[in-house]
Symmetry: C2
Subunit: 623 residues, 2 copies
């Protein structure tokens, strides 16, 4: 991977930062956040402005360019990747390390007195605007909204915003109609005494209307906003796609409906003026509910006194708790996904020794096997197919320049997943196709112990996910090891592979309590720069747990793995496992055999079935 | 315990809430927080206003009185106690339960439109004022400072503010002179570019000047403020105590000193006007550093643009990391404390079967044995001496009405500690003087497993204490049990038994990372209302840990128990312990034998020594 040469681009950007055509007054710094106008994690090519200006294309990062400096903040998953992709014009700011300044503090330390710091108000979330502008103001600087995105002014070949056809989901997939979702939402609004709710996150719009799209790769969403009143529904969406008869019928656009369920379709670009009109018409006590992560531009449209901001919207919270139809769909999706991976690993075992399988070939083969499964739509994220030292780059994606050949001498890490119409998958397995070293097995086994500690944890109702994070690290910590990422994230149901409001991380303090029906990943790891990476990831469903006692009648929860793919026993040092851990592995493999075995049989995939049976033989502990 | 009858008092309070002599406009609600003007947890009798108005005298709680309602917010430690101590005029608001409203939300729900909510600006911390006033304002109400404390206006026999003599501590106790502490503080101030630092917490004043007092029971502090400039030191303190020659010499009040170390002594009550003068004389960029928990009254004195507020002050952080002299002192104090407890438990074992020992007698006996030890000053908190169902009242203190006789049929829980000139102790042991039931042993063993899980935890440098909290609960959670309090708190060195900025709790999100030299408690428990309480508490020192590997060169930490008192093996179900846990208990008891045994021998306490040897015999697991 050679870095992007950005000298000329930065020169152009610094010119437009002073150009009165775009800025009222020159800005001494310009912030380029990752997101789009919906604060999406995964973004469309037209929104990859930070990658365009810097070369660094990881999923998280913020660039700030001043007259003298260009700096990039990103987290531990991307330290290596960012260092590889950026040229010498850029300084890497490693978030999470003690000595790394925040963006605000850094700006204060480098800017001349009384500076203006510009940012696109559609791209910056309101909560971040507030935090930054407060610090900057108290140091004598100003955060200013720059209407025209300055990257767009220099990005001559910027791609068009996508506008692809929509997919409608019927009740067998969603379990609840969009009308019933609107009813539930309005009841939450009434509870909080708000009159309007603005849906800004793309997955929330998709979930609310039981629609899916493909405007953003890997995320089955489409560019849209919605504004829900107590008696009105406005959907802001562009293109012919709303003319599709299936979509019109699904949304009942041409039926005679009670007025409160009549959807008014408006152009995507009219959200700002419509919201301004809503804001202007408000009487006292008519609040407007927005996520505090909605863009500063939209938030500012609603007069401050009328804003009701929360970190998680009622849609985000409702969406996280999967109903029976969704849970069953997720189960089906994970069985199909396991079938594809059994095929893949069986194939890899035969092919890797020949020295012809590269990371990219392996990733493509995984996609090929997945695409053979029913209701397959696309991948749920860019496949991380990494061998040897590439495995230590936590969010690695193989490209021709880095593409390494799998061998019997290196650990192979595959983190991959797919979107099926009935569910979203995300699974990581770490394999060795030769003979792992004692040290590799030792590290793998610590990671496995952490994985089991979370997966088998029993905890009271009302527990927040971050309280489970240390369970995943304890075995590693005992030996002085650790990993620089969280342990788990919420997973959508045929939606974004990363979703709030729950998760398992030492960093997440604003997570909502885990509830039965929520789905998260469990993915501890261990990474040795320059050598190898290990990660073991299952998607797990929060379920009620039976316990001997029941303190204060609170009830307990635990996890049920939805992912049913063998964990390579060759990599396990059985003597490091407790009896309980050993039993967990054996029971897990027994379930893989039964459930995935039956599906392999049904699909007539006999060779993969033999591979599964071999890989799920019982571990025996030496007593 | 019979509740305090508050009908008449509430009537009087509601009258003064409308009396123009005290309030500019009538207030529809009046808030009575726990604290004093220094936001102390333990307060002098003259500051026990919340207990006076409600009867509830636990260490944490906030009362709010409106024209119609009287409500008390407190946490899980005090639900039972508050319910016992308050009459029917009061509604108990159980903090931490899902359906309990916050004070602000409750006020909004009960107040008529456009209400005024009054509070003493000296008693409410600035951060809490900010939060409350924001919510109230957005609901159309106003939080207003009421200069004269309204409780004081109806509290006819309110005691005088104490003003007791000071104790000076020399270098052998403190390790660092007050001058060197001032130098270090000024260097932290320079780092943050602040010109003034206002010391508002009583333990911070005491620590900074290496002085102790006895104005507040259990906490060796004295009423004072300090304002430290880059070239000036002002100490605000009342009474003749500053005329004591030892104090004058300690503070070098009569010596010729460099002006920047010359302490100006001023009356306690002049802090507000002096701070106003400081505030008025500020030029741009001359910031004043205050804790964000300093009183609203003091914080308001500094113009907003000049305030530099942090959750933890540099003194709080420096004070938490004990130096070698302090650590050695803490070790000595804990050995003496263990001697006293060996004597006590030996005595209880003989006396309890006679049926003559009450909770109060046991508590008094504990104090008697402690007072025989060198450098004993006072207790470090009200002894929790509780048997049977009283043990389930987490912060129980025996009073004649509740005083229960210890017996061979009930569990006895003793949570006690002392202030010695060389250190502060806090230890809980749970004992049975007859034959515990299998269920009692089972619960005790889960608590012990949690205690060991924290005490033996190895974790990376930079880890915050709250990440360890779940380790203490895991064994209980597995069986559906839990406890409704945090797992540990910071402990001062001959200072407050509860101190920031570190701790181990599921609730604490603003804790600072643990560092070698910090001292915290490790005290999981289990409580069954109406039956019994179990808690096992040691004070532990954070120390570097040796690990097999050293990821990113971060280094690891673990804990060394300073408390060296046997854990009753009779209460342990050995078969529930892992081999590692069993070894931990045996090694811990071996250390108690060696260290405390030698001191018992030295003090000629042979009977207690025999008790110690018997109580520390090795556990043997049935394989």
């Amino acid at each position: 991977m050679s870095p992007k040469i950005t000298t000329e681009l930065l020169k152009q950007l610094r010119q437009v930062m002073k150009n009165p055509k775009y800025v009222q007054e020159p800005v001494q710094a310009y912030i380029v956040p990752s997101g789009d106008a919906h604060q999406s994690e995964y973004i469309a090519p037209c929104d990859c402005r930070r990658a365009f200006i810097s070369g660094f294309d990881g999923s998280a990062g913020t660039a700030i360019v001043t007259e003298q400096h260009a700096a990039m903040w990103t987290d531990g998953r991307y330290f290596l990747q960012a260092a590889h992709q950026m040229d010498n014009n850029w300084t890497l700011m490693k978030m999470g390390l003690k000595d790394t300044p925040t963006q605000e503090d850094w700006l204060v330390s480098v800017l001349p007195e009384g500076s203006k710091v510009g940012v696109d108000p559609f791209i910056i979330p309101a909560d971040q605007w507030k935090r930054m502008s407060k610090v900057l103001r108290s140091a004598g600087h100003d955060l200013v909204p720059v209407k025209e995105n300055l990257i767009n002014t220099i990005w001559t070949d910027c791609p068009q915003r996508p506008c692809k056809p929509l997919i409608t989901l019927d009740l067998s997939y969603t379990g609840v109609s969009w009308r019933d979702k609107i009813v539930a939402l309005r009841s939450k609004m009434a509870e909080r005494k708000v009159m309007w709710f603005v849906v800004t996150a793309l997955d929330e719009v998709a979930w609310l209307f039981n629609l899916r799209g493909s405007d953003v790769e890997y995320n089955p969403v489409f560019f849209a906003y919605a504004v829900i009143g107590m008696n009105t529904i406005r959907l802001f969406i562009d293109g012919d796609r709303i003319m599709d008869p299936a979509v019109r019928e699904h949304l009942q656009l041409d039926s005679t409906l009670e007025p409160e369920f009549k959807i008014q379709v408006m152009p995507y670009g009219s959200i700002l003026s419509e919201l301004q009109a809503v804001g202007a018409g408000l009487s006292p006590k008519e609040k407007v509910w927005l996520s505090d992560k909605a863009s500063y531009a939209l938030t500012e449209t609603v007069p401050k006194a009328y804003r009701y901001l929360t970190p998680y919207t009622p849609i985000c919270i409702a969406k996280a708790v999967k109903n029976a139809a969704e849970t069953e769909g997720m189960r089906r999706a994970h069985i199909k996904d396991a079938v594809a991976l059994c095929e893949l690993f069986n194939w890899l075992e035969k092919e890797v020794p020949k020295g012809t399988v590269t990371e990219i070939i392996a990733a493509d083969k995984a996609e090929e096997f997945r695409s053979q499964q029913k209701d397959f739509v696309e991948l749920s994220f860019a496949t991380i197919s990494s061998t040897g030292p590439n495995g230590a780059i936590i969010h690695y994606k193989p490209v021709p320049e880095t593409n390494r050949t799998l061998s019997v001498n290196e650990i192979y890490l595959l983190d991959s997943g797919a979107q099926y119409k009935d569910g979203t998958t995300d699974v990581t397995r770490t394999m060795h196709f030769g003979t792992p070293s004692a040290y590799e097995k030792e590290c793998f086994t610590y990671v496995l112990k952490g994985h089991i500690a979370v997966s088998a944890a029993i905890f009271p109702n009302g527990t927040k996910g971050h309280l489970l994070d240390s369970f995943a690290r304890s075995a590693l910590w005992d030996c002085g090891l650790d990993y620089l990422h969280g342990t788990g994230h919420g997973v959508g149901s045929f939606l974004n592979v990363h979703e709030g409001p729950c998760g398992i991380s030492y960093k997440t303090f604003a997570d909502e309590p885990l509830e039965a029906g929520m789905i998260v990943s469990d993915e501890p790891g261990y990474y040795e720069d320059g050598s190898f990476g290990i990660r073991i990831e299952n998607v797990v469903l929060v379920i009620p747990a039976e316990t001997k006692y029941n303190f204060k009648n609170r009830g307990s929860l635990t996890f049920e793995p939805l992912t049913l793919v063998p964990i390579q026993t060759k990599m396990i040092d059985v003597n490091l496992l407790t009896e309980k851990e050993c039993n967990w592995v054996n029971e897990y493999h027994q379930k893989c055999r039964e459930v995935v075995g039956a599906e392999l049989e049904r699909q007539g995939r006999h060779e993969a079935l033999r591979w599964l049976l071999r890989e799920t033989e019982s571990l025996a502990r030496v007593q």
